[in-house]
Amino acid sequence: MTKIDCPVCTTLIRVSGVNLGQKGRCEKCNSKFIVPEHAGEEVEILERGKLPMKAIDCPVCSTMVKVSWGNIGEKGRCGSCNSKFIVPLRPGEEVELLERGVISGGKMRRNPVVKPAIKATRGTALSPKTGKQSTAKAPVKEMATTAGLPATEAKQAEDAGVTGKFKTTSTSPGLRVRSSEAKATSPAVAIGIVCGCVLLVISVLLFTGGEGDDRAKNTSKDSAVVEVEKPINTQPGEVKNLPEPEPEQPVFPGSVAHFDKVIHPLLNRYCIDCHDGVSEEGGVNMERFGSEREALSDPDMWELAADLLEMGEMPPRNKRRQPTAGERKQIIAWINTVSERWDAGALGRDPGRTTIRRLNKNEYNYTVRDLFGFQIRPADDFPEDGGGEAGFDNNADALFLPPLLMENYVESAGVIVHAVYRNQALYTKYLFTFPAGEVKPDEAARQVLSRWASKAYRRPAGQGEVERLVKIFRIGIEKKKQNYREAMKLPLLAILISPNFLYRAENIRPGKEIYRVDDFDLASRLSYFIWSSMPDSELFTLAGEGRLGEPEVLQAQVKRMLSDEKAKSLSMHFAGQWFKWEELRSRTNPDREKFPVFDFELRVSLYRESSLFFENMVRENRSILDLIDSDYTYLNPRLGRHYGIEGVSGSGFRKVALKDPNRGGVIGMGSVLSATSLPLRTSPSVRGAYVLTELLGTPPPAPPMDVPQLPEDDRQLKAASFRQELIDHRFIPACKACHERIDPIGFGLENFDAIGRWRTSHNGRPLDTSGELPDGTSFSSPESLKKILMGKRDLFTRNMVEKTLSYALGRELSPYDRQTVKAITNKVIAGSFKAHVLFSEVVGSFPFLHCRGDSYAPH
């Protein structure tokens, strides 16, 4: 690793092998820390540097403007009057004005923050004392322990205003020069420090045509804190020295030449400094993209990059080297072609392969129920299943089979066989052939076992398999001298612990082909998708006749299955995990002292409301947009009281028309509102993130590492209101960019308390639930928020298609699935958003119907 970020001010600091594991100090903010030994490890802070000043006065309008590490010594802009100036390095120093703005009339924002200039103005660093422009070239700072530094050099370095911990060295031509510029009070960059989310931290500086090298040795004596690159031009707004794309042939987006000649150089210039294979800022490595072919492999990352580029969040605002507007457009246009190509399927087809997956807990229970017809639920004693990236517990890769679980399987198989034997009716039904007269015991056993193995394995049992089971039977008869009845126990047990029962093993062909899944495998895919259980006799019959794959037959089956009662698995397990009402089982625990009404009955009722709602939507083929907003829900009297809705009498659940437009849809449900709260209070940030992630499919980036939290119990707040405290927190630049998108949504839902009840005041003060999204749309209630979400119905639909497809396939989606997602989304939109269209399309989709050999390659 050669670079780390100062954990306090996020300045980029170059390190060498000597520094690893040793103490270091950041020149800019004077924080002390320990350099980690390996890339990706935490930088442990020993001592935090103090911010020299908290705020400055705008030289034009005198508004107090808050500053942070990212602003010190950099260009800034007053949020009130739009003047541009340079933030001084020390308090009390002159604020050099670059451009005078206009004091606008009207509302001035409270405590405006310094906004670093977005545009790529190549300004100059001021030497604070002299006001002269420094022409210092960015030195390469290397960290050295004082131990390693010869005394004279250390002294020299100190005299130069550089501490003994750092020494500046000259660069050799050809070496990429990096300046330890302030990064990241740009919030996106602070966030990019954190693990693995695909945030790009794009370094501004790059080596540009060798202009800087001969200045390398100049170090301004006074630039104790930050050295900046030699300015490329002297006037703000002017751009020089950019390599123009060679104009010989017209290169158009989408052609390989375009990438090589236009885009790749731009990436090299603006991005790769931070996003290379060594530092991998934000988990993004663009250095591996030597050709367009390689670059195409990660469209999700590119789409995020396009968003950030467009918003001006990347490269980080305080980087000197910024792409011009035109260059930004070029990159974004190219990224759009990447998305388009994937969405159009221009890059090949690949149905993907789901790893062999074992039945999860629920599937095991339901399969046993359908196989034997009784209601014992042995899997309730099994350990909990994990879940994959999308959060579903039917993701093959997240399902492991440890010895503990195997013990449980063995025990459960014993219990099941035992239960069959104790029940005379069941016994007769299952062991239907007894040796009588001409039917020899072996033959009888063979018939019974063949039938039951085929049912249990969900496909016709092979002869070898059946013979193995008969062998066990024979051992019982011959060696242990058991009778028929006794000797059948162990073979039945064997069926229930065979991998053919425990795993959904599809008939995989080796090699390089894409092939259609065979009918029995298709029947299983279908039944485990919609019912979380094994196929029924109708499906088996159709599969046996080879007709299940016919489009009309398949679609008819889908419709039948969606109307069957067993489809409530979709609601409990698919929707429950997606929308999080599953969490009401264990994880959601409102504090019983503060919320004594949240007892077992309420918990179960809230869960039922949600699961009935989804069940019904599917069964009656309603619009999936009901999930965003609906004029009905399912209530029992308890919930009626909870929500303050009158007229719900009697017992049990029934459909209730909603008069209050604030209720309705998933975010009006108490289950979701409780699952998105903390034990003692609501969390607008969690709810906002929930809406963005689960409804719109646009999750916010991860928070930075070192985050203080708000007070636990909102009864103890200092600020005027909880809302105000959150708003105050948003002025921390590291938090702002994301939270100004997340929190307003949560504010719009503050009328719902931590267990989903309606309130208009909080802690004795009236609630202010107004919020404004960055694009300017404002709302002030759940009702208006839902209207806004309705306006984004296409996004929601796409998200739902992705979730449904991922659940149906039991794996994460790959870029090759994008064309499928797009096609299905369009069909659902065209089909009035009806639920059955969604499920039919998913079942009829390419990845659902096909599989591929192990060594298949898309091109």
Binding site: T355, F392, L493, R585, L680, M705
Partner: protein
């Protein structure tokens, strides 16, 4: 023989180092070759699988297996050994408790040297002060809630990924290594926990990491039992009454060798047709079947090997009654919840009762307990003076009020730990007690919950390891937590250069 990771081509190789081994067979059994003994190797070769396998004990004819229990155990050449023993021959036990979210060091740290004065948070250890060593300054190989959890007992930094198929923690965890090497009368190790696994991913990291401290090998997490009653029943089958009475007098059938052979053959034939990733999953099936077969067959014999004295029997019955009573009250709520809905303190104590009894009766030598998952967000308001959930409070923002509550939470966990140590101390064994012959680790994934820092993670090791460890000290050192792991293994007479990818033990561990 170990399998080398082929990093360059990004292939996911299977690290099969810590394959559970069948036990050494008792001498009186016939040493005939089992049908699956050789054929598995053939089978895998035939399937064209490129997995390397450790030379499994079972694949050698029994006569060729060395019955060597002396000297150091080498994980590079796995075979079952006796491990360390105390002065009177009692086996040394190892337990690990995982306490999430770091601590408030101002109240936790103890001055280096002999412990006369315990710190504020550690005062519940006063009764067992003489058995305790406090370690400060150790660094976890990974920071943050999730990866720091998985590296707690493995010593390496887990691979950053959201994809469940790509989980990789570098090597197995020390509890699993010890369990595999030394075995146990009933179970090689007992894994318990108090939070269900989390699903999905966050911040680009799969939640699988934050949900597990035990790893069978680099790619296979070991889930924990959430229900103390079930854990109890696994260990003390003959003491339980619930299921037996429900099923009547006849015992449900259990598989025997013929059944196991058949299902293994089913698996073999399945493996022939599937791809690489599938084979990895089926491998888990195979190894789990074999391990269970071992336990089932062993269990019948083990009840003779495991000696339960009248004192123990009394304790076991008492524990069972208490558990039935406590869990009986919440049966309705528990019907929908994976986690018993009893009070958190009591829940922890029931779990620790099972662990203590497991140690005392020698049902197992290794046990772990996760007090919560890596980001533990449980409501801790039941503690006097605390209002809020664990995770939020651990992000104290350096505010006095939050720091105070954080310290109170830390103290709560130390109390729980002290309860366990007290129990072990009270269990007589020979002329001493179980605590004398144990090593009990308490630690966290992070040093500072506020900044998610991996440095200076809180670590306490209690127990004298069969007389090998000088206790009652506070040691301030440095280096990685892997040094601690290697020291633990060393104290158990097991050697491994594989843990944490390096060498070196923790200075001052044994003193």
């Amino acid at each position: 023989m170990r399998h080398i990771r082929d990093v360059s081509s990004n292939k996911v190789s299977i690290s099969l180092m810590f394959w559970p081994l069948p036990p050494k067979e008792p001498i009186q059994k016939t040493m005939s070759k089992k049908p699956w003994q050789i054929s598995r190797r053939h089978m895998l070769r035939g399937a064209g699988a490129t997995m390397g396998l450790p030379l499994l004990e079972a694949m050698m004819p029994a006569s060729a297996r060395a019955a060597d229990d002396s000297g150091r155990y080498d994980f590079d050449k796995p075979k079952r050994v006796a491990g360390a023993a105390g002065a009177e021959g009692q086996p040394v036990r190892f337990a690990a408790f995982f306490m999430p979210n770091g601590v408030n060091h101002a109240d936790w740290d103890v001055n280096p040297g002999k412990i006369d004065q315990l710190s504020r948070t550690l005062y519940p250890l006063e009764p067992v002060k003489g058995y305790v060593n406090v370690f400060g300054g150790l660094r976890n190989s990974s920071g943050g809630h999730d990866r720091g959890t998985s590296s707690f007992l493995t010593g390496r930094s887990p691979k950053k990924t959201e994809n469940a198929a790509e989980v990789d923690v570098g090597n197995g965890s020390i509890d699993q290594l010890i369990g595999t090497a030394c075995g146990g009368a009933i179970l090689p190790s007992l894994e318990l926990g108090m939070s269900p696994p989390r699903r999905g991913s966050g911040d680009g990291i799969t939640k699988i990491y934050g949900s597990h401290i035990c790893w069978k090998n680099a790619n296979t997490p070991v889930p924990h039992e959430l229900n103390p009653q079930r854990a109890f029943d696994r260990l003390f089958r003959s003491f339980r009454t619930t299921r037996a009475s429900a099923l009547g007098k006849i015992e449900p059938p259990t598989p025997d060798k013929s059944v196991i052979d058949i299902v293994l053959e089913d698996a073999k034939s399945l493996m022939k047709q599937v791809g690489r990733a599938d084979q990895q999953k089926l491998d888990q099936y195979l190894s789990s079947v074999r391990e269970v077969e071992d336990r089932i067959i062993n269990r019948r014999e083990a009840n003779q090997e495991r000696i339960i004295t009248p004192d123990m029997s009394r304790e076991i019955h008492a524990a069972r009654r208490q558990m039935t009573k406590a869990l009986g009250k919440t049966r309705r709520k528990d019907s929908i919840s994976a986690v018993p809905q009893i009070g958190y303190r009591e829940y922890g104590r029931l779990m620790m009762d099972v662990m203590a009894l497991a140690f005392w009766s020698n049902s197992t030598r290794v046990s772990t307990l996760m007090f919560g998952d890596g980001s533990h967000g449980r409501n801790m308001s039941f503690i006097e003076g605390v209002k809020g959930n664990h995770h939020s409070i651990s992000h104290h923002g350096n505010k006095q009020g939050s720091l105070e509550m954080f310290s109170l939470i830390n103290t709560f966990f130390v109390e729980q730990y002290a309860y366990f140590l007290g129990k072990l101390k009270g269990m007589e064994e020979g002329s001493s007690n179980v605590l004398e012959n144990s090593m009990v680790l308490l630690g966290s994934n992070m040093g500072d919950g506020q900044s998610h820092s991996s440095g200076n993670i809180p670590i306490i090791v209690a127990g004298r390891g069969g007389g090998r460890i000088t206790t009652g000290r506070s040691v301030r050192g440095g280096g990685g937590v892997a040094n601690l792991h290697r020291s633990v293994l060393d104290t158990m007479n097991l050697k491994s250069s594989l843990i944490g990818g390096g060498g070196g033990t923790l200075g001052g561990f044994k003193a």
